[in-house]
Symmetry: C2
Subunit: 197 residues, 2 copies
Amino acid sequence: MSETRNRIISATNELFRVHGYHGTSLSEISKAAAATIGSIYHFFPGGKESLTVAVIKSTGAIYRELFEMIAAEAADPTAAFVDFFEGAAAVLTESDFLDPCPIGTIAREVASTNDVIRLAAREAFESWIDAAAHQLTSAGVRSEVAHDLAILFVATLEGSFIISRTQRSVEPMLAAGRRMAPLIDAAVEDGLRSRSD
Amino acid sequence: MSETRNRIISATNELFRVHGYHGTSLSEISKAAAATIGSIYHFFPGGKESLTVAVIKSTGAIYRELFEMIAAEAADPTAAFVDFFEGAAAVLTESDFLDPCPIGTIAREVASTNDVIRLAAREAFESWIDAAAHQLTSAGVRSEVAHDLAILFVATLEGSFIISRTQRSVEPMLAAGRRMAPLIDAAVEDGLRSRSD
DNA sequence: GTCTATAATTTGATAGAC
DNA sequence: GTCTATCAAATTATAGAC
């Protein structure tokens, strides 16, 4: 992997978190990555679109791994979800309320106009949903229920970024996580009960 | 209220739903609204920023009223929330998965760079949270719990728009609503029980 | 792989006639 | 209130030297 290529992806990721897709220009990326426009087109011949796909894949993989790490260390299945919300709240605070996830913003900006980027975002979200659902099925939750709850988890996480960022407060993020917890608990208990029938 | 002014707000609203804030230009707005750039600056001397604030206020009020209408007609408190998710799913289908809410996208695009727009978005979201919380407290839910659940409702709604639009499917939206329902039910039952103590 | 130069278009915004 | 003309700056993208 090229050093410059990584620098371009990383700088673009940061800029997307602040300004979104249409608000970020190639010249800003060039400056932030300390790479010329020519270099950007060398590594991403498809221009801004293919660079964006690379950013989405990178962030998608990183967050999936983060969830799995947190889940592995969590005391119980529900804790994994609550811990992830708390981690997200910490990221918000430390970054002075930058968007923790560039994918959500980009997805909304181009979902109706760019299928290549839309499908990259879809794949990232689905990998998170799969990871969260797997965490639940492992704890005995029926796969249909687990999948629905995993969707609810990712959707709530993304939506909480919006509310917390507009308020510049982590309270909405924490409230959402806190109130979702009993739902996960109930599903796990229900799964265990039906298993012991 | 001026006819032209309304046309500009309405056209901008539609364009924001497709392309977001930075992806929508004044020339596109001018064309879609059948009004010249000069007219736009006549009604919105603050330019794109103040036009955006007007769009957010307009959409914010419309959705708040919609929620209250649905809540008034709902069979029980929980039904209001589920009905709203189903209504949002219907909007997605009918519009071929245009963003039902321009505010969420814009908020994420400019939350870190434009305080005027950020605060307008915050006010819109808070009016929805208040409306949802009021629906719950009226049903006997303690106000702290009601507020948290109202946040969860709005966050989940916004997040579901992202997942459903990237998948071009209303299933995520419906799954989120469906799985959130028991949570509302439990809070209402809990509120009634503590009241009869 | 990196760089500069540049093409062609579009951006938000303003001025001033009508 | 509406219109045209126009500004300076920025946009994505390409060409071609090194």
